[in-house]
Symmetry: C2
Subunit: 329 residues, 2 copies
DNA sequence: CTGAAAGCGCTTACAG
DNA sequence: CTGAAAGCGCTTACAG
């Protein structure tokens, strides 16, 4: 069933069929006649042919390190749903560890004529990635979440994680905690922001900063927490920059028989499902993944529609969700 | 940069360029000359134009209820990576609650000329879904994971979950447990299989089956576990058909001060990351999601290459991963 | 081995 | 308002 079949059936030219399909100028009588046939045949125009003619594929790409990461999945989910509602398909890309594989994907995506590209996670903020963008998709709108890159076709939606961590640490301080440690677990710009929020809070409270680093995992959290407790027995709160690492910390505290939150309070970050699976349930900084994804997709749609009014970067403020690992006030 | 530019540059026809691109018959000298230009220009053929000419989009679709579900994400991840290695892009579709929305997606996907469709999860095994497949993509290979549908273009890869649950329950029995309950949490064919495995095991052991049903969630697990303990204080083991529900059960047991596994043993299903985030760490039936996804993608690639030797359904056996919620023997 | 030409299914100036 | 025609960038019989 092609546009030719419809045209023949309606006794008009294919140009006219195309016009009623795309809302062009057509007489009411003709429009009705064609539309009737369109519906009767359940006609669906070939997106591939449309793509060749218009140079728009009606597809966007979602670049992520690994969709199995629950945070990335949360953002990818909203993006896909929002884009689908606007008529766009979402091509999923799992880049794996190194951002360099972004090059191969981007090259393939340019051959696919994707209309827009989302980058989920701040791991992509690297010179090499910037290079790939200017080489392969210099004119395709690019939307970052939790990051920005100084490229003319790039935009970003990010959560103010520095403020989120700042607020969390201040809350611990107001609850009487004075030896508040932080555990970071990667080297992204997002992590730097979190650390900055922590340092600002400890400075404002005039308490000694205690910074630790480990691997982002249950095990990483367990190892570093063991060491913190051993080396600094006076610690009374630990802020982690990721829930899964915090969950590892909670396990270690449980195993050592350290009362949570009475002896040591714990706060994670991302407010993921891990918070409730963990026992006791974990308090966490809410960096508003769902909202981030939604706004990113909405901005992208505006860009694709050339609507204007698209801000270069949008900054969302973080919340704080208190559960069972923080003391009441 | 089109095939015309390359042809002009090389002083040959576009047909010849197309042939060297697709491995057609070309003289060695010509091939070398063209190839040199191809590389120098970093030429990349338009997949859209190729798609129109060959009727192949080099894209597959991954249909899932919700990519935020860690099990679906695990399978989608492998599929995407395997298909990408074979030169196919993966279009992600989150259908949401009702399988009926599969219709809209499938209609759009047929306009996109996707080369194959994956369905993740047994929720799609419904007559309405079968209808959509025969209506919109009657000739497109369809690969189910953890399900099968009696359609000529449909194939499946599934884990033998009946056997998995059977083995788990037998393990509990051999550890001396005699009041072993099961908690199911949905109505899919997958759940029926699990229940069947449980009933077979209790029958073989000649113990009384105790079947309960709840919502698939932490909270669902907490509620039902409270009730089981209240109504059947003698219960000494609970098998859940999903880790997250089991994690809810573990929380309740912890809160009630019931010793795990000494008083009550717990086994989940899916061997997901929730098993290690949960405290104590959860034993679980391993239904081999990664392997399922890998095999599904490999089968699909064979189908797309018309290689033959593709089995209608592949059945993987389940394992049992023991952690801290089951007694030693 | 190589090229001219038709075709894939649309869109969009350009005339009328 | 409507149609004939060119064009989007490829592939593939068909001749030679």
């Amino acid at each position: 069933m092609t546009i030719y079949d419809i045209a023949r059936e309606a006794g008009v030219s294919i140009a006219t069929v195309s016009r009623v399909l795309n809302g062009g100028a057509v007489s009411d009588a003709t429009r009705r006649k064609v539309q009737e046939i369109l519906e009767r045949c359940d006609y669906q125009p070939s997106q591939v042919a449309q793509g060749l003619a218009t140079r728009q594929s009606k597809n966007v790409a979602i670049m992520t390190v690994d969709i199995r990461d629950v945070h990335h999945a949360a953002i990818a989910y909203v993006i896909e749903r929002t884009m689908a509602a606007a008529g766009y398909g979402s091509i999923l890309c799992n880049l794996g560890g190194e951002p360099s594989s972004a090059g191969e994907y981007l090259r393939a995506l340019s051959a696919q004529q994707v209309d827009g590209v989302f980058f989920i996670g701040s791991i992509f903020v690297t010179p090499v990635c910037q290079d790939y963008i200017t080489r392969y998709i210099p004119d395709t709108p690019v939307m970052f979440t939790n990051a920005v890159l100084p490229v003319k076709n790039a935009y970003g939606v990010l959560a103010d994680e520095a403020q989120g961590i700042y607020d969390a640490v201040m809350r611990l301080y107001r609850a009487g905690r004075r030896q508040i440690a932080i555990v970071t677990d990667s080297e992204t710009s997002s992590e730097h922001n979190k650390l900055e929020g922590y340092l600002r809070a400890t400075s404002d409270c005039d308490i000694e900063p205690m910074c630790f680093h480990t691997e982002r995992s249950m095990q990483g959290g367990q190892i570093i927490t063991n060491r913190i407790l051993h080396d600094y027995p006076g610690v009374d709160a630990i802020q982690y920059t990721e829930d899964i690492t915090a969950a590892g910390g909670v396990h270690t505290l449980q195993q050592l028989g350290v009362a949570i939150p009475d002896r040591v309070a714990v706060i994670g970050c991302n407010n993921s499902i891990y918070c409730t699976v963990c026992y006791p349930q974990l308090s966490s900084v809410d960096n508003r993944l769902h909202e981030t994804g939604r706004r990113a997709a909405e901005q992208m749609i505006r860009l694709l529609n050339r609507e204007g009014g698209v801000e270069r970067t949008i900054c969302l403020s973080c919340g704080l969700i208190l559960r069972d690992t923080t003391p009441a006030m």
